[in-house]
Symmetry: none
Subunit: 155 residues, 2 copies
DNA sequence: TGGTATAACATGGGAAAATATGGTAATCAA
DNA sequence: TTGATTACCATATTTTCCCATGTTATACCA
């Protein structure tokens, strides 16, 4: 198997008045190795920002082209939702990206942001919101261990 | 994987009295990198302008040649409509295209236009119309999360 | 093991470049 | 010539880039 790239760990960084925040060094390493870019968009299901590589999004675009026809309504809605919200975020020589007002507002982020690894994707949270979310997830996991295990191995 | 080209994000630009509007810089970058042109036509299904690269239309034309039975007669008619309606739009040194009266009228655009990325394609909307459309799509997505989730995780 | 040197990283601020947009001049067709 | 279209210039704003500094993590040596 080739080299493995996963967004891991949970890292808190400061957000300055320009919306700038350091992308964790490990994440930058993935971007460089894969010669891709980071893409971020508003999570559909949670008050957080979601990110992945542009490669992953391109893969999604290709699959949608192959599985749905050129004029389908379903494809129309999906592409608007996903690609219309997503945006590339290149980082400068010091490793920072500039988050947009739209994203910051959706995640209720002001002066501090938490990066949470999710494997192929990652999320960016307001610290307080993440603390609550993590507690909730851990609690659920204890109650539903079988289904959680199944879901985690299934990819 | 080679370099990736996707129309992303949602960007609002002004339209002046001549119909001039700046093509978002990221979109121009795609055109330059692929040495192609932007093609626009009236959307068949929504009150908006639809755009893509000339390359993509060429691909569509090729697919029709190579797999005649792949496309139904109905879709064949639709592609005729698109090719008949589509026109190339080159941008000037400052990055602006000039939208035609026909397109502007179809999309009810007057002094402001919203570019919405759709991956291989993009759309141009009247701002108010787009706000409504986006709300509708997001609402639908939340109701139909299973199919959306499947598409997003399926790679 | 403890301490120090070194490197990597995060962060604040300002300079430089890119972008959007209004206006004017040149070009072309009728 | 006249109206329309296209190309070009000017400027304000936004975004990006780069330098400087403080902080944290890592490596090295006594």
């Amino acid at each position: 198997m080739g080299k493995v790239f996963l967004f891991l760990d949970t890292i808190t960084n400061k957000v300055d008045t320009k919306g700038r925040v350091s992308l964790p060094a490990d994440y930058r390493e993935i971007v460089k190795e894969l010669s891709t870019d980071i893409v971020c968009y508003r999570s559909l299901t949670a008050p957080c920002i979601e990110g992945c590589t542009e490669n992953l999004l391109a893969k999604l675009a290709s699959e949608m082209e192959n599985s749905l026809d050129f004029f389908s309504q379903a494809q129309d809605n999906l592409t608007n939702l996903i690609f219309g919200d997503a945006r590339k975020f290149g980082f400068d020589s010091t490793g920072r990206i500039v988050l947009t007002e739209k994203l910051l507002k959706h995640a209720q982020i002001t002066d501090s942001a938490v990066f949470v690894g999710k494997g192929r994707k990652f999320q960016i949270w307001n610290p307080e919101n993440w603390a609550k979310e993590e507690a909730r997830i851990r609690n659920d996991a204890l109650k539903n261990r079988p289904s959680l295990t199944f879901a985690k191995e299934n990819n």
